[in-house]
Each structure stands twice: as structure tokens, then as C-alpha cells.
């Protein structure tokens, strides 16, 4: 059992247990905080996969921006009566069955073939973190310049859309 495999096990357990807590917890604020742990676990797995820039972006974007957005939404839509509504146990069983069937199919059929095709990793784990950001930046500005420009357009559209949808409806009765 190598050290890298132990670390992988720790981060994988953190990620999956937090994800289960997100979907099973009735308190929405707790679900949001467990989601933060899930994102941190995935970020740690990114570091193990030599994606250092993505590790930083995962924490900045997901934990720093998206989770703050979720917290805002949770506190703006606090249900006054706090009736913790969940589905009937039959529906939950059907949902669990559907996702279990999916997981068994993927894990049984797809993953062994894919990982056999991938083969062994060529880069050792304790390589010094070098040049991932630089190479990624170069790739974004040379080969992937078109998606790079388009994503800024998409973000602008999403920004305008969120503002327009979310603003208060200040309807004035006086004619203008």
C-alpha cells in the first residue's frame, strides 16, 4: 500500500461521505456545508492528478463563489414553517434503485474497459508541481482561444440574466 494510495483513500472517503450527507441531510444549511467538504475533497484529488491550477480554481470558484451564492439563496428562501418535507420512502427507494443501477452499469461495464485502455500513469506522484499553470495558460490562449472567448460571452450573459431575473419587481403604479 503506497503512500499515494492511502492519501487517495482518505480524500475519496471524505468526498463520498460528504456527498452522501448532502443528499441525505434534511437541513439545507448543513447540506450546503457538506457540499463545501465535497468540493474540497475533489480539489484534493485534483492535486493528486497533477492539476494544480484546477485545484486552485475549484476552491476559488466552487467554494468561494458558488457556495456563497447557494448560501444567499438558502437564506433568501427560508421556508417559514420549516416543515422538513421529504419524499415518501417508496419514491426514495425508486430513486436509490435508479442510481444504483446506473452505478453498477458504469462500474461493471465501462470503467474496467476504460482503465484498461488508459494503462499505467506515466508521471510519478512526487513530481514537483511545475508549469501546470503556465502550460494551461498557454493552451487557453493559443489552441483553445475560441472557447476561451466564448466562455467570457457566456459569463456575461449569465451575469445579465441573473440580475434581470433576480431583481426586485419595482412596479410603479404612477404612469410615466
Amino acid at each position: 500500500m503506497q503512500a499515494s494510495e492511502i492519501w487517495f483513500g482518505i480524500f475519496a472517503v471524505i468526498t463520498l461521505v460528504s456527498a452522501l450527507a448532502v443528499v441525505l441531510s434534511r437541513n439545507l444549511v448543513r447540506a450546503a456545508l457538506y457540499l463545501v467538504f465535497t468540493f474540497l475533497g475533489v480539489a484534493a484529488l485534483y492535486v493528486m492528478l497533477h492539476a494544480e491550477f484546477l485545484f486552485a480554481m475549484q476552491i476559488l470558484i466552487y467554494v468561494g463563489a458558488i457556495m456563497v451564492l447557494f448560501m444567499f439563496a438558502v437564506f433568501l428562501t427560508q421556508q417559514v414553517m420549516q416543515a422538513q418535507i421529504t419524499l415518501s420512502s417508496v419514491s426514495r427507494l425508486v430513486g436509490a434503485l435508479a442510481s444504483a443501477i446506473f452505478l453498477v452499469f458504469i462500474a461493471g461495464n465501462v470503467i474496467p474497459r476504460v482503465s484498461a485502455a488508459l494503462g499505467e500513469a506515466s508521471v510519478p506522484l512526487d513530481r514537483v508541481a511545475e508549469e501546470n499553470t503556465r502550460k494551461l495558460g498557454l493552451a487557453l490562449l493559443t489552441g483553445y482561444i475560441l472557447p476561451f472567448e466564448l466562455i467570457s460571452l457566456i459569463l456575461l450573459t449569465a451575469l445579465v440574466a441573473a440580475i434581470v431575473i433576480g431583481k426586485e419587481d419595482s412596479r410603479e403604479d404612477a404612469s410615466e
Binding site: 484529488l45 447557494f70 462500474a107 500513469a121 433576480g166
Partner: protein, 100 residues
């Protein structure tokens, strides 16, 4: 380094947990949280392929998925807040005005 299948198993499990959340939860914000779980699982898959093939395109793809997830979360939550202002609840099972 752990074999690639371990990372893929974690991504598949994360995806199916998110799928269970989308199918099961009634609160619209909780559904959006489960969608974020599924997006993270897909990203983990992409980064795993990128690492075990020693190319960068998987990480670039994952970066764009991350940006799109942020945009989608913003718009989705704006919609949820707007719905809450209109009908004072966000129970997805009761969004049935357009059902005949």
C-alpha cells in the same frame, strides 16, 4: 500512483449520489446542489483522463465545465429566488401549474 480505475470509481459513485439527490429531493435548491455534485463527478473524470494520458485537453475541458457550472448556478438560483417571491415556496413537487 493509484490505478486510474480508482479515480473513475470515485467519479461514478459521486455521479450516482448526485443522481439520487436530483431524483429524491424536493427542495429546488437541494436539487441544484445535487446537480453540482454531478458536474464535479464529470470534472473528476475529465481530469483523470488528462492525467493518465499526459495531455492537457481534459483539464481545459474541466475548466470550461467549471465556468459553465458557475453560470448555471447563478441563473438557476436567480430563477429559484424569483419563484419563491411569487409562490412563497420552493417545493419542486408543487411546481405543477402548467400540468394539465
Amino acid at each position: 500512483m493509484p490505478p486510474s480505475s480508482w479515480y473513475l470509481y470515485v467519479a461514478a459513485a459521486l455521479f450516482s449520489i448526485g443522481l439520487f439527490g436530483v431524483l429524491t429531493r424536493r427542495n429546488a435548491i437541494a436539487i441544484l446542489m445535487s446537480v453540482e455534485l454531478m458536474l464535479n463527478a464529470a470534472n473528476l473524470n475529465l481530469v483523470t483522463m488528462s492525467a493518465y494520458r499526459d495531455v492537457l485537453s481534459g483539464q481545459v475541458f474541466a475548466l470550461f465545465v467549471m465556468a459553465l457550472a458557475a453560470a448555471e448556478a447563478a441563473v438557476g438560483l436567480a430563477i429559484v429566488i424569483n419563484v419563491y417571491r411569487t409562490v412563497r415556496h420552493i417545493d419542486a413537487d408543487r411546481f405543477n401549474i402548467m400540468r394539465w
